[in-house]
């Protein structure tokens, strides 16, 4: 369970990105965090693994308080939180395998990672994960040779090989086409269910959030303005989060769509997407 208590982040410029955010994410829950650009979504998840240092407030992962951890224990705690990024953030000039194995860096000593001598168990797990996301034939490709969807799958593998309890997902679909976006979101959702992971997913696309999250939190100017089920997103609520717009079309018919037909095998996708 992740619990944020009175979390505040004020940047040096004086902007308050987060104002007393209180949030609880139970184990195994997939939560979508929506809100306009600049609402503080990225700041919030970066505060959790302290890529951004929170100004005040407390963050508990189970019983461990994260904001006061020293460097060593912070690194050990980061291993328990996998992160997936908007522009994939793969190390472009390393291979797919190296990128996936980099998820184990927190577990292996420097000399092993330097000589790429990862434990065989890690390599086995990497192969298993790549097979799970349909990329086991791409092990030796360099990350910059992959398409967007493939890169994000590698990003997912890198997060999962950490064997995390929690996934922090920052705009996973922002640079992907609509179809790939759905595939990636479904993959994240399925993997969270398989591994009983909880997840915070920052996402711009309200429709995708409704389709794949069990709970939606709306953030506006650093404050939570909505916290509830996906079908509670009425036009009024969306207006409160994003501002005045015609929202009727956005929340139309979410559950009727046939989702199962469009999952292209990755091989075929590889052939068409380069």
């Amino acid at each position: 369970m992740l619990r944020l208590t009175d979390l505040v982040k004020q940047y040096k410029t004086g902007d308050k990105a987060l104002k007393n955010v209180n949030l609880e994410v139970p184990d195994g829950q997939v939560m979508a965090l929506i809100g306009p650009s600049g609402a503080g979504k990225s700041t919030l998840i970066r505060c959790v693994n302290r890529l951004v240092e929170p100004t005040s407030g407390k963050i508990h992962l189970n019983d461990l308080e994260l904001t006061t951890l020293g460097q060593g224990s912070l690194r050990r705690t980061r291993r328990r939180m996998g992160m997936i990024f908007q522009e994939y953030a793969l190390v472009e000039r390393l291979t797919v395998m190296e990128n996936v194995l980099s998820g184990r860096l927190g577990y292996v000593p420097f000399w092993r990672s330097y000589f790429r001598k990862f434990p065989q168990a890690d390599v086995n797990e990497a192969f298993r994960l790549l097979e799970r996301v349909g990329l086991d034939h791409m092990v030796d490709k360099r990350a910059d040779e992959l398409s967007g969807g493939q890169r994000q799958r590698v990003g997912i593998c890198r997060a999962l090989i950490q064997n995390p309890e929690l996934l922090l997902v920052d705009e996973p679909t922002a640079s992907l086409d609509p179809k790939t976006s759905r595939q990636i979101m479904r993959l994240i959702r399925e993997l969270c269910e398989e591994r009983k992971l909880s997840a915070i997913i920052n996402i711009h696309d309200v429709l995708l959030a409704q389709m794949f999250a069990e709970r939606i939190v709306g953030l506006q100017l650093g404050e939570i303005v909505y916290d509830g089920p996906p079908d509670g997103l009425t036009p009024d609520v969306l207006t409160q989060i994003y501002g005045e717009e015609d929202w009727e079309a956005t929340i139309e018919k979410v559950d009727d769509e046939d989702e199962l037909g469009d999952d292209t095998p990755p091989q075929q996708q590889a052939a068409t997407s380069n």
Binding site: L51, R78, M83, Y114, R158
Partner: protein, 271 residues
Amino acid sequence: MPVAQTGSDRIWKRRDRRTQLTVWAVQLSCLMVFVYCWSLVSDKTIWEFVYDAPHQAGDMASRMVPPAWDYMDQLWVAIWDTINIATLGTMMAVVLAFPIAFLAARNTTPSVVFVRPIALFIIVSSRSINSLLWALMLVTIIGPGVLAGVLAIGFRSIGFCAKLLYEAIEEIDTTQVEAVTATGASGPQVLHYGIVPQILPAFAGISVFRWDINIRESTVLGLVGAGGIGLQLNASINNVAWTQVSLILLVILGTVIVSEWVSAKVRHAII
């Protein structure tokens, strides 16, 4: 004020009147400075010598041909020394420049207040002294020979390589570094996985580029006794053996062409 209303049309101009006048004033003052400097140079030139220049050049050229081809026997060793000075000097510089660049780059330096200024000072002092001057000093300190040349080239190149490399480090994509940090990797691991792969092409390009420059620089180091083909050049000039000088110039030209070709090939292969 570049947009003005004239009747029903809105007139757009690139600059308003004040800016345009400033631009003209700057251009005019540049022209005046140029004319003034030209007259200074002209006053201090002995024009009789310059009028004579075509004749002198022709005279020298006639004494340079044909190149003394049989002198080539003595040049092979010298050119080999020259290439070695350049290569070993570059290797030394690259090895030392790598850590210095990380200490100098704003995003990787352990301390902006203490370590970074020291690293920058090393870079600036290495760059501000020409390799010929380094050689002059080193010959005095450790005596004439190839070693002085290697060190001279090395010291001069540290600053060059470190400067270009630390600029490359400062321009890396930070999200890749963030991603590696988020896995719980330690500082050295973040450096090795997040940063080094991103700067490796720049690093290789800089090294080859500097090697290429160093081949040219090492050809003159012999003038001050630091080994290589410059020694022969100096001796031939002192003996007014112009046919040997022309051969040496041809050999230098050939070496530089080969080194440019090699470095272009290598850079192409890396990038």
